[in-house]
Each structure stands twice: as C-alpha cells, then as structure tokens.
Symmetry: C2
Amino acid sequence: MNDHPLDRALALSHSDIQSGLFTGATSPDYWNMVGPFGGTTAALLLQAVMQHPDRLGEPIALTVNYAAAVTEGALQVQAVPVRTNRSTQHWTLTLSQAGEEGRPQPNTTATAVTALRRQTWSTTDLAMPQVPAPADVPGMVAGPKGVAWVGQYDMRPIRGGIPREWNDAGDHSETLIWVRDAQPRTLDFPALAAMSDVFYPRAWLRRARPVPAGTVSITTYFHASAAELAQVGHGHLLGRATGQQFRNGFFDQTAQLWSEAGLLLATSHQIVYYKE
Amino acid sequence: MNDHPLDRALALSHSDIQSGLFTGATSPDYWNMVGPFGGTTAALLLQAVMQHPDRLGEPIALTVNYAAAVTEGALQVQAVPVRTNRSTQHWTLTLSQAGEEGRPQPNTTATAVTALRRQTWSTTDLAMPQVPAPADVPGMVAGPKGVAWVGQYDMRPIRGGIPREWNDAGDHSETLIWVRDAQPRTLDFPALAAMSDVFYPRAWLRRARPVPAGTVSITTYFHASAAELAQVGHGHLLGRATGQQFRNGFFDQTAQLWSEAGLLLATSHQIVYYKE
C-alpha cells in the first residue's frame, strides 16, 4: 500500500465495479480553509475515471464545477461513460455527500474526455519561460496557518509569490513557480490535475489585498501521456498563472505547467468568485 | 416573431415548463461540413438555460463536450439546475437525438454556471490589441463551398486569416478578426457563446495545412452582463485566437472577444482533435 498523502486522499473503493459508483472520504492532509483543496477534489473525480474498468485511453480534458462546499467526511463519486467512440470517450462525473435525510446531494459536477492518442506532428506555441533552476530558488515561506494542503507541496516562487504586505499596491497578476509534491511521488494524471489548481487567487496578487475568493469552475487540458508523466517522476514542474478579466465578482485565470525538460504537460483555466 | 437566422436556429419549445426538457432542430443556415457549426450547438445548450423558468442570474461559464456527431433534424435539450446557491447556480445539460430504436442518445454534454453579479472592483490584464477600425478592414473572402455558417458572420481578418496557399509554411497560430452577425442582431449570451467558436482550427494556420480537425470540448467564460451585451448591439467584436500546445492528435486554443469599445466580453478555450 502506498503511503503517500495524495494516494490516501485519492483512495476510492467500489462495491460493484461496473456501476461507476465509488466511495471515499475527504483528507485532512489536503484541507484548505473551509473545505478540501479544490485541486484534490478535481484529482478525486479524475481518479474515478482512471479506475473505471471501461475507460478508453488517457485524459485529454477535465472540467470541474464546485457547486457547493464539500464537507469533512465520507463522499461518493459517480463516473459515467456517456459516450464511447472509436478513439474518444466522454464522461460525466458527480461528487455527492449525504444531505438532508441522508440522501446523496451533488456538491461537485464534472465532465472529462479520455482518448487514445497517436503520434502526430507536434509543436508548441507556448515555450517555457526562462527561469532559474529549482535548486537556485528558495522554497516558499510557510502559508497561512491551518492550511494543510500547502504543506503537501514543495513550492518555489520565482515571481508573483503571495504578497508580503497587503497594501493595495499590486500591479500585475503573474506567478511563476517551481512545484512538486513535498513527499516524493511519481507524476500521474490526478496529481497533475491537482497541481493545476495550486495557484492562489489572482485577485490577491493583482490588488495586494486578500479578498474572499473561491474557484467556481476549472478546466484542465492534458498534453502528455501517462508514460511521459512517469518520466517526469518526482521532478519539479514550472507553473505559470496569470489573471485575465476581473469583473463584477468573477475573474478568470489561465495557467500552464511544464516539465523541467520543457514539455508543456497541462494548460488550465478557471473562473473564480471574489468579493468587494 | 424574430426572423434572424440565429433566432430560428435557437428556437426551442417545451411541453412542460418545469421539466427542463426542450425540443428543437438543427438549422441549415449554420451547417458546417458534416454537421451543425459547433458554436450554434453551444448556443443552443445555453439557450435552454436562458429559457428555463428556474434560472438564477446570468451565465458565467459554459463547457460543451462534443461527444458524437449531431445529425440533421430534430433534437432535444435537457437543462437541469443541479444545485442552486444564494448567488450561483450549477447546470448540467445534454443534447440528445433519436438513436437506435428511437431512444434519445446523448450527442453533446455540457455544464453551465449562472450567477447574480454585483458591482465590484474590476480591471483587466488582457488589454485589447491595437488594430485598425472595422471599416478599414476588408471582409473575408468567401469560405469553403457548402459551409453555410460562415456566411452568417461578417468576418474581417486583420491577421491570421485562412491561409491562401496550403504550402506547409505556417509559422504562427494567431488570428485577429473583427466579427459580428452578418444580419443585424443585438448581442446576447447565446450569440456570444457561438462567436467564441468562430475561429478555424489553429493547426490549419500553424501548419498551413488543412488537416482534419474538430473541437472536442470548449469552455467559455462570460465577463459582461446582459445589459452590457445589449449595449454592444450589432457592433463588431474583436476576436483573437492562438494555439497553445499541439501534441499527438490534440491541440488547445485560447480566444478572447472584446467589444469595439474595448470591454473584454468573453474568454474561451478549446481542445481540438487533429489528424496527421
């Protein structure tokens, strides 16, 4: 049994392997301020797809909608392959917890696409930014007290770390960071889905003001194979996130994750609620 | 009755207003090569949300997954408000057509978020590119024969129009274009959802080679209110699209749409299947 905290957080069991109904629980190791780290919730939904016996190919796209707070304790994930074609497969996913009268109530909805990939012409129009090597970048100063999930990552901000002074004097929304699991673990799709959400809210950086904020919906596209992720092993990923439009209670941010060797592994976008 | 082709394409009826089950049909006016223009399909799904009696607020996010070909003729859209909070509402959507033995079979899945927005601090980190005014940009040369939907738009490419020669000599993936409905129509959310998908596949531009390609999943974030869209009226939008990662059968592209006055109305991302 793997003793990595992410593997514990993503542990799912199922009574009937064909039903696509999995049970699990929230993890204290990845707790955020008032619920689980959203990245872990995304990873958990993708994990159900990875473990489904009817899965075709590997993840291409994942959209997760945070519909309501996930509370501490037991949860269930339903993964349904709605449509399977020759080389692509479309999934709908729901994370539910016991609500009134014990009936499962959906807290999180998601869709995913898996696909068989073939080797084709390939290129990138998003080259990795030139940055110092991970060994030359100091680790992040400890995050806010009581935010357990931050401690699960080795994060080394190159630019756009959490502001040291909340002085309303922010002037950009770009973060560049080296990131990997704090405890060694070979990279896979659920871990990559989680890391796509490690960037703190762009509104905090843009304004140098810690306004209440929470992700409403995140979409991640996966650009590498399981074998390529395994090759990355426990290496650092270079993460980049920037805000786009901040407008009347919602902003969107875009993010990329490269391997240290320069392969763009994932691109991600999210829309985030904010106050004030 | 509105006689605009987009209103005809988005006409939905329902027998029971509470069930969220709507019926409609594909439109020959927005036909693409082997099925409806994907932008119209996205608009149709959002239209069901707009017409649902239980809708809270206005669209914030829409993800549409093209699971299988939509065929000519009748279709149904099911719109379910899975979770309604104080200020946000989460939707799951399915477009189905009669499959084997006449049973409805899902061709397209989607999720949407609507929300009540309040006025807050706002800014943008994606300023509108400086480009010539629409009046100074010639319209697009007619698209490929038999592609009806292209004729429904007034498109004026500033940079990155469809290559005139397929000579494998492409060297970038950016398109800048002025776009609006060819026949006057006041901008609304479904129209904006459709326009987020007017950019032809980035692989064609990047390679100057018209390889087979089709959108697998698109996510659009909406940054303006219904009133702000109405103020745009029939004005041109500046659209920008760029490719990001092209890799082993799938690439992603990112897009933005600004009003001529410079307000970023929508940001959009899609992942696209391609061959060779």
